[in-house]
């Protein structure tokens, strides 16, 4: 039972999320009957489930809530802001009810009573309407009733062919009347030596759901009346053929019994009818008898653990495949090469597909932002429209989860600081409604998310002055515009004059930056005064495969993430050895470099010609000296594990084609860890 409860909680969470989403959509199109219908359906599922799994409070609460939407559905009430506010508050309440362990949570109880009272208030304003509302229901049912289900037993006489009648044509004609399920029966079929091809031994059991009435059925057989035995029985007032349970039951009974037991069938349908009546009542308007129940099979629910396992296996396959390719190269066999290439092709496909499974559209996290904008704009008395573009862009599930908080923060900042008050906008001659736009799109192996507003923008001079006042930069520092904006990401930086409830406590953009860096993303700000601010976040598609540069020192191999690599240079060992202050000249520019061999205490002597990989470190460029650069490598990132948790400069390891392990460097951490005063950052 506990297991089912968990399942229900999971499902209920989905339902609540859906409810929230639809409610927000409803705000924009309050008259859309489909949306109201959807709300009703979600609430109903929630109510049914919570009652079944003992969430009594939730059951009752949803019931109250449902009453409102019943009125709305029956056009006795119109959606207004009050109703939406209460429903959204109820959504939050439902969430906490779902989490509630024991029944004695007083805070929840108070909230519960409060909301129920408000709901009652709304309903009571429409007492008249409520009484009318009930009269509408039977009408809906009648519409559905028109589809009745019939059972036909059609036994043609053996000599039916002599009259020139084809029983199959009759069945075809019958099936034109509506939905059908036909079971041919062969149990009267004689053995092969007695079989007479001119005689008919087959008979049929037919279930037909039609709105044409029993007369239409009789009409089909009007000319074959004396050539067959026909039993027609109405078994239900409803269209039972829409019910998978019913179909399952009849299929089962057809398989196991020789004849269909009509009495039993009537009993069964009677029971089913009851369930049907209960379940289908709220959906009566949308269900009109056509094919409809098949949508549920288009997707299945899989635990993310299973997906993680699958990805692990695929990663291993990719590793093994790299080994096979290497082996095939070394052993000059045409056949082996062919196989290896084939395996490579398939494993690449498999890898892409499996990683694709984990990708979910960005849309899934937008609801909470819409909600945030809606509520904050009311609170701050600003008129804001939240627009989205490219929400079908997909990202790894883990990335999306980790992205939600930073994005929330960014949007909050935009609302609070970016967008001006209504009066201010009027003076500036800007449209009354301001826009926050969230735009997502693909760019190479990255996904870019842009959040822009048309607010007051950020003044780089202001930032600079503030940073100088705070002692973050020297007074004479020359900063470009983008460097100035980068200062915003420093810890403790907040230019907001007053601290509000919403934002401006100086914790903020640095956390945003850190969180985004954690998922190997980059973030930058661009802004124009009085035009608005654009925040661009660049993210990798997945977390577990990275493109890297494979380098070697003595017999140890390392991978430097390609995303941070700027350029590579060759240098004589002597030049590096004699470099003053660890500075070298590349392309007419001085670049500081770190001697990785020294830093990692790698034994052995360096070769005469070494390589320097210049990587991006913030806005600065830093060189890393290595023995040789082997080439580009697609690395499946593996964690180093608990024993190496103190190790910062290595973000993980990957297994190379020859089976050895290469370490993946985290250049940002590596450099900040070893950067000493000798190195002039920013030079």
């Amino acid at each position: 039972m506990e297991k089912f409860r968990e399942k229900f909680i999971e499902e209920a969470n989905d339902l609540i999320n859906e409810l929230e989403k639809v409610l927000l959509a409803l705000e924009n199109q309050p008259k859309n009957p489909d949306l109201i219908q959807q709300i009703f359906r979600v609430m109903h599922s929630l109510k049914g489930g919570s009652a079944m799994f003992g969430f009594t409070k939730m059951d009752k609460f949803t019931h109250h809530l449902e009453s409102i939407y019943d009125l709305i559905r029956n056009s006795k009430l119109e959606i207004n802001n009050d109703i939406l506010n209460i429903t959204l508050a109820s959504v939050d309440h439902l969430r906490s009810l779902l989490q509630e362990k024991d029944d004695e949570d007083t805070k929840n109880k108070v909230q519960n009573d409060l909301l129920v009272a408000k709901i009652q208030e709304i309903i009571n304003e429409n007492v008249m309407a409520e009484s009318n509302g009930k009269t509408i229901q039977p009408m809906e049912q009648r519409q559905n009733k028109e589809h009745a289900t019939y059972y036909l037993n059609f036994k043609p006489h053996a000599n039916i062919f002599n009259f020139g009648t084809n029983p199959l044509y009759l069945i075809d004609e019958l099936c034109d009347l509506g939905q059908y399920k036909v079971f041919p029966r062969f149990d009267h079929l004689p053995g092969i030596d007695e079989l007479d091809a001119t005689k008919c031994f087959i008979y049929w059991d037919i279930f037909l759901a039609t709105n044409q009435g029993i007369n239409a059925i009789s009409e089909v057989f009007i000319f074959a009346d004396d050539q067959c035995d026909l039993k027609v029985q109405k078994i239900s007032e409803f269209n039972l053929l829409d019910e998978n349970t019913f179909i399952g039951i009849i299929e089962e009974s057809v398989r196991s019994h020789k004849e269909i037991d009509l009495d039993q069938m009537m009993l069964l349908t009677h029971d089913l009818e009851k369930i049907y009546e209960k379940e289908k009542e709220p959906q009566a308007q949308t269900k009109s008898g056509g094919a409809s129940a098949d949508t549920s099979i288009s997707s299945i629910r899989v635990s993310s653990q299973k997906l993680d396992d699958l990805i692990n296996w695929v990663s291993e396959l990719v590793t093994i495949q790299a080994r096979l390719s290497l082996f095939a190269q070394e052993n000059d066999s045409a056949e082996l090469s062919a196989i290896s290439e084939e395996v490579e092709k398939i494993s690449r496909r498999l890898r892409d597909d499996v990683f694709g499974i984990r990708l979910i559209p960005i849309e899934t996290m937008l609801t909470r932002f819409q909600r945030l904008v809606r509520e904050l704009s009311q609170e701050l008395d600003k008129e804001v429209v939240f627009k989205t573009e490219g929400t079908e862009t997909e990202l790894d599930k883990n990335i999306i989860e980790m992205l939600a908080d930073p994005l929330m923060h960014i949007i909050r900042n935009s609302l609070d600081h970016g967008i001006e008050s209504a009066e201010e906008r009027k003076i500036l001659g800007k449209p009354k409604k301001s826009i926050i736009l969230l735009k997502a799109f693909y760019s190479g192996a990255n996904v870019v998310i842009q959040i822009s507003d048309d607010g007051r923008g950020i003044d780089p001079e202001k930032i600079k002055n503030y940073a100088i006042a705070k002692g973050l930069i020297g007074a004479e520092a020359e900063l470009t515009k983008s460097e100035a904006f980068d200062l915003l990401f420093l810890p403790g930086f907040s230019t907001a004059q007053k601290v509000t409830k919403v934002s401006g406590r100086g914790v903020g953009m640095d956390v945003v930056k850190r969180k985004i860096t954690e998922i190997r993303g980059e973030v930058e700000i661009d802004s124009e005064i009085n035009k608005g601010t654009v925040l661009t976040i660049k993210l990798p598609l997945t977390l577990s495969i990275i493109d890297g540069l494979l380098v070697q020192m003595s017999d140890t191999k390392f991978i430097i993430p390609l995303s941070s690599v700027d350029k590579c240079y060759e240098f004589k060992h002597k030049v590096l050895e004699n470099a003053i202050n660890n500075l070298i000249r590349t392309d007419e520019k001085e670049v500081a470099f770190l001697n990785l061999r020294q830093m990692f205490q790698i034994e052995g002597t360096p070769p005469e010609t070494e390589h320097v990989v210049v990587v991006q470190f913030g806005t600065a460029k830093i060189g890393l000296s290595v023995d040789t650069i082997i080439g580009q490598y697609q690395a499946v990132l593996k964690p180093l594990g608990r024993l190496y948790k103190k190790q910062n400069s290595v973000s993980g390891a990957t297994i190379l084609g020859d089976g050895t392990v290469a370490l993946v460097l985290d250049t940002n951490k590596l450099i900040s860890q070893y950067a000493t005063n000798e190195i002039k950052i920013g030079g």
């Binding site: 017999d555 830093m599 990692f600 594990g641 608990r642 024993l643 103190k646 190790q647 297994i655 370490l663």
Partner: protein, 173 residues
């Protein structure tokens, strides 16, 4: 398989013995996943000395610990007998896999509960809490290790390093 059988397997008194220098140690086979021949180890820069590096175990990255360093001896020198024993140990409630580097793997032995003697509280150079007990052989003894505890901290296993250092280095020659 019924429950009692499962229990028997979990509490089995089968031990795998291995050698570090001249000394014999043993650990419960239930902890052992596999034994590997020596293979190239990738050193992770700036990590403690006893962490020799990482190897590839069937597509996963496995840390390798030099048991000789952990037990206060000189670093393992690789010979044809050097082995990596892959263990599954529990550290602070988390099961992790790691390899230990030993000079050679000796044998698998059955030891009855009654044959396990308590380790003397004095006279051994290793900290008592890491030794589950002693098992006497004709010409010496095997120290049965409490393997989960050994990896729960970064310390070396040796207790009275100063006094016994001389004898250790002597016995190794």
């Amino acid at each position: 398989m019924d429950d009692t059988q499962i229990q028997n397997i979990n509490n089995t008194n089968t031990f795998l013995s291995f050698q570090l220098g001249k000394e014999l140690f043993a650990l419960n086979v239930s902890k052992v996943l596999t034994i590997l021949e020596m293979k190239p180890i990738t050193k992770v820069p700036n990590s403690p000395e006893y962490l020799r590096g990482v190897i590839n175990l069937r597509g996963n990255v496995l840390p390798v610990i030099d048991m000789r360093i952990k037990f206060g001896m000189s670093a393992t020198e690789f010979t044809t007998n050097t082995c990596i024993i892959v263990l599954s140990v529990e550290i602070e409630g988390e099961t992790i896999q790691l390899g230990i580097l030993v000079d050679s793997v000796d044998s698998v032995i059955e030891i009855k509960d009654t044959e396990i003697e308590e380790s003397p509280t004095i006279g051994t150079k290793y900290k008592v809490e890491f030794i589950q007990g002693m098992y006497h052989l004709e010409d010496g003894f095997i120290m049965l290790l409490n393997i989960d505890l050994i990896f729960s901290n970064d310390e070396l296993m040796i207790a009275q390093e100063v006094e016994t250092n001389a004898s250790v280095s002597n016995s190794e020659k």
